[in-house]
C-alpha cells in the first residue's frame, strides 16, 4: 500500500462508519415492518412509503389520498425558503461590507460574524426564546416605553421559527458570499462602465456571474439544514407546528413507527440529493 493512500484511511473510515452505514441502515429500516413497541420486524414492507401520501382506512383497507405529510414537507420547504431569502438580504450587504474593508480589518469582521457560534445552538435558541416571549426583555422594554399596551406575540409562532432559522444559519450565507466577493476584481466594474454599461447591466453581467458560486453555496448551506431543522420549531415554535425534523423525531418516540421515520429521512435525503445534483449540473453547464 502506498503511503498517500494510507493518508486517506482515517477520513474514509469516518465516512464509512458515521455516514454510509447509518444511511444504509436508515434506508433498510424504511422498508421493514414496525414492531408494536418500537423497533422493527425483519419483514419487508413498502407501507412506510405508501403512508407518505395515502392513508389506509382502518375498516376496509382502502387507500385514500392524504395530504397531511406533504403539507408538513411544504411548510418545512417554505420556512427554509423564507429563511434563505432573509439570510441573503442580510448576508449580501454584510459580506460586501467585509470584503471591501482593508485586509487588516477583514479578519476582525469575519471573527465577529462567528462569535455567536462559539455558543451551543441549543443555548442560543433558548436564549432567543427567553428574549422574545411575553415576559421577556423585548416585550418588557416595548411596554415600559409605552409603545405597546400588551405583549406582542413574538414567540411560539412561525415568526419565531423563521427568526431562529435566520440567526442559526446566517454565517453560512455570509462566508461563501464573502469568499466570492473577495475574489472580485473591481477593475472589471470600471471596465464595464468604460464600455458604457448601465448600472443594471454591470450588476447583471459582471457582478452576478462572479457572485453566483457564492450564492449557490450559501443558499444550499442555509436551505438544506433549514428544511430538516428540529430545534427552532421545537423550542421557538412552542411545539405547535411540526416541521419535517420534528415529524421524524416523533416516529422514533411516541409514535413508535421506526420504518416511517426512516422513510421520511430517506425521502428528505433523496430530495436534497436530487436538488444538489441538479444545481451542480447547471453550474457545470454554465462553466462549460
Amino acid at each position: 500500500m502506498k503511503l498517500h493512500r494510507l493518508l486517506l484511511a482515517p477520513s474514509l473510515g469516518t465516512i464509512l462508519i458515521f455516514m454510509a452505514l447509518p444511511i444504509a441502515l436508515t434506508t433498510l429500516y424504511s422498508v421493514l415492518t414496525p414492531a408494536q413497541h418500537g423497533g422493527v420486524i425483519w419483514q419487508p414492507s413498502g407501507e412506510a412509503y405508501v403512508r407518505l401520501m395515502f392513508e389506509r382506512d382502518i375498516f376496509d383497507d382502502t387507500l385514500s389520498f392524504n395530504a397531511d405529510y406533504l403539507q408538513i414537507l411544504g411548510r418545512s420547504a417554505l420556512q427554509a425558503g423564507f429563511a434563505t431569502i432573509l439570510c441573503l438580504l442580510i448576508g449580501l450587504p454584510t459580506a460586501w461590507f467585509i470584503a471591501t474593508r482593508p485586509p487588516a480589518q477583514k479578519s476582525l469582521w469575519l471573527m465577529l460574524v462567528t462569535v455567536p457560534y462559539w455558543v451551543n445552538l441549543l443555548v442560543r435558541t433558548i436564549a432567543l426564546l427567553l428574549m422574545l416571549r411575553d415576559e421577556g426583555p423585548i416585550n418588557g422594554a416595548l411596554q415600559s416605553m409605552g409603545l405597546t399596551d400588551g405583549p406582542l406575540p413574538l414567540a411560539y409562532n412561525n415568526f419565531a421559527i423563521g427568526l431562529g432559522l435566520v440567526s442559526s444559519f446566517l454565517p453560512f450565507m455570509i462566508l461563501p458570499l464573502y469568499a466570492a466577493i473577495e475574489r472580485f476584481d473591481f477593475s472589471l466594474l470600471e471596465a464595464a462602465y468604460d464600455l458604457h454599461a448601465s448600472r443594471w447591466q454591470a450588476v447583471w453581467s459582471v457582478i452576478l456571474p462572479i457572485l453566483r458560486p457564492g450564492l449557490i453555496a450559501g443558499g444550499l448551506l442555509v436551505f438544506i439544514p433549514g428544511i430538516g431543522s428540529y430545534l427552532a420549531p421545537d423550542i421557538l415554535g412552542g411545539g405547535k407546528t411540526l416541521m419535517l425534523g420534528n415529524l421524524i423525531g416523533m416516529q422514533f418516540q411516541g409514535s413508535r413507527n421506526w420504518p416511517f421515520g426512516a422513510a421520511l429521512s430517506t425521502v428528505l435525503m433523496s430530495v436534497t440529493l436530487i436538488a444538489l445534483i441538479l444545481v451542480a449540473r447547471r453550474a457545470a453547464r454554465e462553466a462549460a
Binding site: 452505514l21 447509518p22 441502515l25 436508515t26 429500516y29 408494536q36 413497541h37 418500537g38 423497533g39 392513508e55 382502518i58 397531511d68 405529510y69 403539507q71 408538513i72 416571549r133 411575553d134 415576559e135 411560539y156 412552542g238 411545539g239 405547535k240 407546528t241 411540526l242 420534528n246 415529524l247 421524524i248 416523533m250 422514533f252 418516540q253 411516541g254 409514535s255 413508535r256 413507527n257 421506526w258 426512516a262 429521512s265
Partner: protein, 336 residues
C-alpha cells in the same frame, strides 16, 4: 436517527464482582441511598441515565447493555414482561415485600409482582396560578373552555398520549379508543383549544414560574417544585379524572450482577430507604411505614395528598396498534 446511532454505538460496560449498574431517569436516585447501599453491601454502584422509555427499550433491545437495574414506568413494564426482557426475580417472596402497600401489590403491569418492586408514583393533571385564575378550578374546563384571562396562556405537555387522554376525559371518551368518530371529536376539541394554547412544552415548572403560562398540564412532583418558587401555583386533581403512573425497579434479562440487583430491589422496599426516594425526587413511594421518615413539609404537601373527593388516579396500559394509529393521526393533524 439518534436511536439508530444509539443502536450502533451501544457498547457493553465492563463489569466485575461487587458492582451494580443502574439505568434510570436522571436526578431520580438519591445519592445518600446509593452511599448507604454501597456501605452495607460493599458494592460499587454505577448510574447511567436515559431521557425516555423509548431510549431505554432501544438500548435493551440492542442487547448486552450490561445493566443490572432498570426503572420502567407501568405501561413499559407490561411490555418488557410480555416481550421476555426482564428477569423473573419473585419480588413477592423478598423479605421487604411485606412493606409494600397493598394497593401496589396486584397491579396490571405485574399482577403477582414477580418482576418488579415499586419505586415512586405520581400523577399527571394540571396546575394553575391562583393569582390569575380565580374561582372553581376543579374541572378540565379550565383548559378546554378557558376564561378570558387564561386564553393564550395555556401550556400543554408535549406528549401526545397525555394531551389526548386529557381531552378524552373532558369529552367522556374512553382511553385508547379505537372509534374514529370519537377520536374525530377529540381532534375537534384540541383544534379549538389550540387557539388558546401558548405552547406544547414539558418545561412546565419554568413556564408557570415565569408567568408565561397561568394554566399548565403538570406532574404533581414538578408542580410542587414550581410552588416552592412561586407560592401561588396550585396543583389540581380534576374531577373528570387524571393519569396515574408508577415507576418500578426491575432487572433486565442477562443482568451481569444478578445477586446485587436482587439485593437492591429488596433494599428499596425498606421504609427508611423508600422515604429517601420521596425526599429526593418528591414523588410518593409505595412503601408502608415510610411516612415516618419523610420530611414533614413534604408529607403534608397537597401535591402528594389528593383531597378526599378527588377521583382515583387512572393507570393506562399501552394502547393497541389501532388506537395508537388513531392517536398518532389526531396529533399529526393537530400539529399541522
Amino acid at each position: 436517527m439518534r436511536t439508530l446511532a444509539i443502536l450502533l454505538l451501544t457498547a457493553a460496560p465492563a463489569f466485575a464482582e461487587g458492582d451494580l449498574f443502574i439505568y434510570t431517569w436522571g436526578e431520580y436516585t438519591p445519592p445518600d441511598l446509593v452511599a448507604k447501599f454501597e456501605k452495607e453491601f460493599g458494592v460499587k454502584v454505577h448510574i447511567d441515565s436515559y431521557d425516555s422509555m423509548e431510549t431505554m427499550i432501544a438500548k435493551l433491545r440492542a442487547g448486552g447493555a450490561g445493566y443490572d437495574i432498570i426503572v420502567p414506568g407501568d405501561a413499559t413494564m407490561q411490555v418488557l414482561i410480555a416481550e421476555d426482557m426482564v428477569e423473573k426475580i419473585d419480588v413477592f417472596a423478598m423479605p421487604n415485600f411485606a412493606n409494600v402497600d397493598e394497593k401496589w401489590r396486584e397491579v396490571y403491569w405485574d399482577p403477582k409482582r414477580e418482576y418488579s418492586a415499586p419505586w415512586a408514583w405520581g400523577s399527571t393533571a394540571f396546575a394553575v396560578d391562583t393569582a390569575v385564575v380565580k374561582g372553581d378550578t376543579s374541572s378540565l374546563a379550565v383548559l378546554f373552555d378557558p376564561a378570558e384571562e387564561v386564553k393564550g396562556r395555556i401550556n400543554m405537555l408535549r406528549d401526545m398520549n397525555d394531551v389526548i387522554n386529557m381531552a378524552e376525559r373532558y369529552l367522556g371518551v374512553p382511553r385508547c379508543s379505537e372509534n374514529p368518530d370519537a377520536m374525530k371529536r377529540v381532534l375537534e376539541l384540541l383544534e379549538t383549544q389550540k387557539e388558546w394554547v401558548k405552547s406544547y412544552d414539558s418545561e412546565t415548572k419554568e413556564l408557570l414560574v415565569s408567568g408565561e403560562a397561568v394554566v399548565s398540564m403538570a406532574w404533581n412532583g414538578y408542580s410542587m417544585r414550581a410552588r416552592d418558587e412561586k407560592p401561588t401555583i396550585a396543583y389540581v386533581y380534576p374531577k373528570e379524572g387524571y393519569t396515574g403512573w408508577m415507576d418500578n425497579v426491575a432487572v433486565p434479562k442477562g443482568a451481569p450482577n444478578l445477586d446485587n440487583a436482587k439485593a437492591w430491589v429488596n433494599f428499596v422496599m425498606d421504609p427508611e430507604n423508600a422515604a429517601m426516594i420521596t425526599n429526593y425526587a418528591r414523588y410518593s413511594n409505595g412503601i408502608k411505614g415510610s411516612e415516618a421518615f419523610i420530611e414533614p413539609a413534604l408529607a403534608a404537601a397537597p401535591e402528594i395528598n389528593p383531597p378526599a373527593d378527588a377521583p382515583a388516579p387512572e393507570f393506562i396500559p399501552t394502547c393497541s396498534p389501532a388506537a395508537t394509529a388513531l392517536i398518532d393521526k389526531v396529533w399529526t393533524k393537530l400539529m399541522n
